[in-house]
């Protein structure tokens, strides 16, 4: 199936900005399970120069210099992405059947295994995700016993986050510490993802931050309005011998054909859709508009699922002023 995605991120500055360096990451990744068919990026005002490069995590970055006086910077990514549900199903089956126990995984990760090396980048604390406290460790270990199958344990862990944490926007922003989220047991999708990642790394498992979109459906019989979607986040855990398994604790589902990946990294910082450095006084405000829709022809047969997906309102702020 094919999705059309519209993702507009804007910075509104209090005073006029004459010169700003920005990095946008709005181009969805090509993976074994999704293919980017088309992509365009529109920037307002005019960009004086731009340079595209692929970072260590395989995400496409666009470095843009803007030299026109402006008070509003908006970057819009428009993409068409094809998702391959069969391949995803196959991959999940593969993960399930090749998964090993948590104990065996930790044992194997402590040794040298050529195929595990690149996953080890995701084993450590990162800028936004520190290792968890003893309380977090205790919480996560309830699901992860030595003899327990890793995939099952992770599945249950996602389930528990979904049940124990309350979805509440406005409580947190991107800088809210994982510990605060854990104590309050509330937050939005990126909080749940970062909490899960922190917990998994604490018990010695590599975990990745997944950033992207999720398809939402309007109430029965109503037309879906444009721009009511939001960007989404979930996590992936590494199962030695099998690969990366993805889980969406916000919706308590294993991402399949309704999740579209934008990019992945150690935490939000590695994949923030827009960040910039400006020389200006005063504050800036960020706004985001997202629209995700499935291209018509296969919408009819899929709409039976009837599930309303919970969305998140992420605080995509990543802006420093000088």
């Amino acid at each position: 199936m094919i999705y059309t995605i519209y993702h507009k991120t804007s910075f509104h500055y209090q005073s006029i900005v004459n010169f700003s360096h920005n990095i946008a990451r709005l181009k969805p990744k090509d993976t074994a399970y999704q293919k980017l068919l088309e992509f365009t990026m529109e920037i307002e005002p005019k960009v004086s120069e731009s340079h595209e490069f692929v970072d260590m995590f395989g995400n496409t970055n666009t470095h843009m210099l803007i030299r026109e006086p402006h008070q509003l910077l908006s970057v819009t990514g428009k993409s068409r992405v094809e998702i391959f549900p069969n391949l995803i199903e196959q991959h999940i089956e593969f993960l399930k059947s090749n998964s090993i126990t948590y104990g065996a995984a930790v044992e194997r990760l402590s040794k040298f295994h050529a195929s595990d090396l690149s996953a080890k980048q995701f084993l450590f604390e990162s800028e936004l995700i520190p290792k968890g406290s003893d309380a977090i460790k205790e919480y996560v270990l309830e699901s992860f016993h030595k003899e327990r199958d890793l995939f099952e344990a992770a599945h249950e862990f996602m389930n528990r986050i979904f049940n124990d944490f309350k979805f509440l926007s406005g409580f947190s922003d991107i800088t809210t510490p994982v510990e605060t989220i854990f104590e309050a047991k509330k937050g939005v999708c990126q909080d749940f993802a970062q909490f899960a990642i922190s917990a998994l790394r604490t018990i010695g498992l590599p975990a990745k931050y997944m950033s992207g979109y999720i398809e939402t459906l309007p109430p029965e019989g109503e037309e879906k309005l444009f721009g009511v979607d939001a960007s989404h986040a979930w996590f992936a855990v590494y199962i030695p011998n099998a690969g990366w398994a993805e889980f969406d604790p916000t919706n308590n589902i294993i991402p399949k054909e309704q999740h579209i990946l934008l990019g992945s990294g150690r935490d939000y910082h590695d994949i923030s859709p827009l960040k910039g450095v400006v020389q200006s006084s005063g504050n800036s405000r960020l706004s985001v508009m997202v629209d995700v829709r499935r291209e018509k022809k296969d919408l009819i047969k899929e709409s039976a699922s009837g599930q309303t997906q919970m969305q998140m309102q992420s605080q995509m702020q990543n802006q420093s002023q000088q």
């Binding site: 360096h21 340079h51 995590f57 910039g276 420093s320």
Partner: protein, 827 residues
């Protein structure tokens, strides 16, 4: 033996004496000289050394110490001696280590063969804070190299030099090592007449060659990137930049565009292609690295990515400051070079492996524990000093995060004689050596910086924690011929040619002119008010109280410390406490204390440009001033004296500034700042003091104060030979084009100054326009029209309006001037 009688080292190895108390061969000559000199002469030489260092302004800033921000550097008159023979082995070892580290650096940021072939654990790289994902794949670049490398070494119990630390991201100490040598040279001909040592100049020459090669022959496109004047080793940054003859720049001096870096200079943008940096990795680029950093340049990483900038050393080098690599260095040497490590290291266990962790936990009380990446603050646990509980906590820490820790054997390092408190004592010493990449090999400096622990048998040595330094002498069998005779003779010339001056420096000069003028005028004005307040009842005249009110209001306007004396609150403003607040309250914008603090900032940022005497003078003034504003006694006489003293300092400082820079160079910016500020102050005072219609006695009082506050009473008298009349004062201070302090004269001068600037055009520039308007406006005025007033009016409204208009012109001029010269966003 004499002066060494009481010298007993408790260390397992002493540099001078062997275990039988015999003098080691290569020390004999130096020791004989020390003994021949005796304690008294050492004392005298120490005093000479202190003088040389202070006279050269050698300082080392201590962070978080406001009372004494810069401390003098100290140097021991006894050198640390190494024989030529031993040095040649050390040199080979350092070259090998530098080569290996460079290969590791390039591999980590490209193929990662070391990890893939199981030579080093992935955790040692990925778990290290210095691993920069942003420069992933840069290792393949030809210019991605460890160009400059410093090694800390100390002598172990086996008598060999052991490597204890690798400094790779922005090594410090080279400047101090050179200054130590130059200072030692001044005393050593007399103290050590027959000792030949290897020279340092060759290394500096090599450094310049490297810069020349990287810049493609034009060394002016290289820069030393400093975090600024508040950095602990700023002295060294300015010192090295002048030796190497490259720009000394801060992040704000540069911008990135076209995927390259550009220096903002008064005449425009100039491309920079090579950076010797003293800013740490994560602080180099707020766009891709640490977003809060104010020390870097947004876009620098991408400029590297686009091959437009060489960095000494590249971003990402912090990964090599990694004690987790130590246990694997032998394997790495075998893997890359098929060689054995030449220089020994301290036995190190990385806790990320089970066997090693078990060993460490079992022997915790004997080991030294460190994090692999504690590059900024070195937190070190000495097992033997810990209590049972502390050991237990440490094992919990290690179990929780084993990948992050290493353990090392505790080593007793050698001691060397140190002169202090009138005697010789053994002290632990660490030497820092320096290597430079030259083609496929490395050049090692024949000398280095030796740091000596502050107290006897100290386990930690760090300049931040105090302690002193020594010069490192590599003995030489014969006197070396130095062809590069003048390279170490530091050229005190700093390039301030108007076209090359960096924007940041230009801006600082401009603001120095403005703040200094503001400080001087404010001091003079407050002083005048305080003195009148003290003498309020002296002359039996009632009117002076009313005129005092006018002056106080004028002070509030002048300093813009509103509401101040203009407050219409229920409680009347108490003059003394308000004046004290305007003087001392540093948190109050516009107060004298706040102006001095901003002035101090500009002064520090211009330290390397201004004459050394001026910063000495400023430091002295600052010290007295800080004491004064922190003192709670506030008698008028004390305040008056203090203001007089401040005024004298400021005037002397101004004189030194005027003398140390040429007008055609940077001084013109200082002058422009000075003139704009003077004009604005004069206008402000005129609006408060000359626009009010007053009775004769009051008027006399206020006019007198106005002229005195500009030191212009005598000039007025000479000109008018009459008593004080408002018309004349206005004519004199505002319209008279001949009197140097008048507004009309300053406006003319400003217009002339602007013509000397690099962006001067045939037509009027945006900043010249308002001054031209002010000029023509002033030229059309005459006193009679200015002073038109209706009978019932108490204020010369027309005059006030004129002044207000003029004030706008000057403010516009200042803004446009800043825009044209200090920002480069439209170029």
């Amino acid at each position: 033996m004499g002066i060494f009688d009481d010298y007993h080292s408790e260390s397992s190895f002493d540099e001078v004496f062997d275990s039988e108390q015999n003098i080691r061969d290569y020390w004999k000559d130096v020791l004989a000289d020390i003994e021949a000199a005796g304690i008294e002469k050492l004392k005298k030489k120490q005093a000479d050394i202190d003088w040389y260092l202070e006279d050269n302004g050698v300082t080392y800033n201590i962070y978080n110490d406001d009372s004494n921000p810069s401390r003098s550097w100290s140097l021991d008159p006894i050198p640390f001696v190494i024989s030529e023979q031993e040095w040649s082995t050390i040199t080979k070892g350092l070259q090998q280590r530098a080569k290996l580290l460079n290969m590791i650096l390039k591999d980590i940021y490209s193929e990662q063969k070391l990890i893939k072939d199981n030579i080093i654990p992935a955790e040692v790289v990925f778990g290290h804070k210095g691993f920069a994902t942003e420069v992933f794949d840069f290792g393949k670049k030809e210019n991605f190299n460890l160009y400059f490398y410093a090694t800390d070494m100390a002598r172990g119990p086996d008598g060999k030099m052991w490597v204890i630390n690798d400094k790779t991201q922005a090594p410090s100490g080279l400047g101090y090592a050179i200054e130590n040598r130059l200072t030692m040279n001044s005393v050593s001909k007399n103290l050590y007449p027959n000792i030949n040592t290897k020279k340092l100049s060759f290394f500096i020459e090599e450094f310049k060659e490297l810069l020349s090669e990287l810049t493609g022959g034009d060394i002016s496109s290289a820069a030393l990137l400093t975090p600024g004047a508040y950095n602990e080793t700023y002295f060294e940054h300015s010192y090295l930049s002048s030796f190497l003859e490259i720009n000394l720049l801060q992040g704000h001096d540069l911008l990135s565009k076209d995927g390259a870096l550009w220096l903002k200079s008064l005449s425009g943008l100039k491309k920079i292609n090579t950076i010797l940096r003293r800013v740490d990795d994560r602080f180099c680029d707020p766009l891709e690295l640490k977003s809060e950093s104010r020390l870097g340049i947004a876009g620098l990483t991408d400029a590297m990515r686009q091959n437009n900038i060489n960095m000494i050393n590249p971003i990402g080098s912090a990964i090599l400051e990694n004690k987790g690599l130590n246990p694997f260095m032998n394997k790495i040497a075998e893997y890359f070079l098929k060689e054995e490590l030449i220089l020994p290291q301290i036995a190190t266990w990385w806790c990320g492996q089970k066997k090693e962790l078990d060993f460490v936990l079992a022997n915790l009380n004997k080991l030294v524990i460190k994090k692999i990446d504690n590059t900024e603050i070195i937190k070190t646990y000495f097992g033997k000093l810990l209590s049972e509980d502390e050991l237990k906590n440490l094992s919990v820490l290690l179990r929780k995060n084993p990948n992050k820790y290493i353990a090392q054997e505790e080593i007793s390092f050698s001691t060397a004689p140190y002169y202090g408190n009138g005697k010789l004592e053994p002290r632990n010493a660490v030497i820092r050596t320096f290597c430079l990449k030259k083609n496929d090999d490395y050049t090692v400096m024949n000398g280095g910086l030796v740091r000596v622990s502050k107290i006897k048998d100290s386990l930690l040595i760090s300049s931040q924690k105090g302690g002193t330094s020594k010069d490192l002498w590599i003995l030489s069998s014969e006197e070396e011929d130095v062809n590069y005779s003048n390279i170490l003779k530091r050229d005190h010339y700093t390039d301030t040619a108007i076209n090359n001056i960096s924007t940041l420096r230009a801006e600082n000069l401009f603001w120095l002119g403005r703040y200094l003028t503001r400080a001087i005028d404010t001091t003079r004005f407050i002083s005048l008010i305080v003195k009148r307040l003290t003498n309020l009842y002296r002359y039996e005249v009632r009117t002076s109280k009313d005129s005092q009110k006018i002056l106080q209001d004028a002070l509030t306007h002048l300093t813009m410390t509103y509401p101040g004396f203009l407050s219409d609150g229920a409680v009347p403003v108490r003059p003394t406490s308000e004046i004290i607040s305007v003087i001392k309250d540093i948190s109050r914008s516009g107060s004298l204390a706040s102006v001095i603090s901003m002035l101090s900032n500009a002064n520090i940022n211009l330290k390397d440009l201004l004459a050394f005497e001026s910063s000495k003078l400023f430091d002295k003034m600052q010290k007295e001033w800080n004491e004064f504003i922190n003192r709670s006694t506030n008698s008028s006489i004390l305040i008056s004296n203090e203001l007089d003293s401040l005024f004298t300092y400021l005037m002397a400082y101004k004189q030194l500034v005027n003398e140390s820079i040429f007008k055609e160079q940077g001084l013109i910016l200082f002058d422009i700042g000075h003139r704009i500020e003077s004009a604005l102050i004069l206008i402000s005072k005129a609006r408060s003091m000359l626009c009010v219609r007053l009775k004769k006695a009051e008027s006399y009082d206020v006019l007198e104060a106005m002229l005195n506050s500009m030191e212009s009473m005598n000039a007025y008298r000479a000109q008018y030979k009459s008593s004080l009349v408002l018309e004349n004062v206005i004519e004199f201070l505002i319209l008279n084009t001949q009197f140097p302090k008048s507004l009309a004269h300053m406006t003319d001068k400003l217009a002339n100054d602007f013509k000397l600037l690099p962006k001067s055009k045939d037509y009027l520039t945006s900043y010249e326009k308002p001054i031209f308007q002010a000029q023509s406006f002033l030229s059309k005025l005459d006193v009679e029209t200015i002073m038109e007033i209706k009978d019932e009016e108490v204020v010369y409204l027309k005059f006030d309006k004129i002044l207000s208009k003029l004030s706008e012109y000057f403010i516009e001029c200042s803004d446009e001037f800043s825009k044209t010269y200090f920002s480069h966003y439209d170029e």
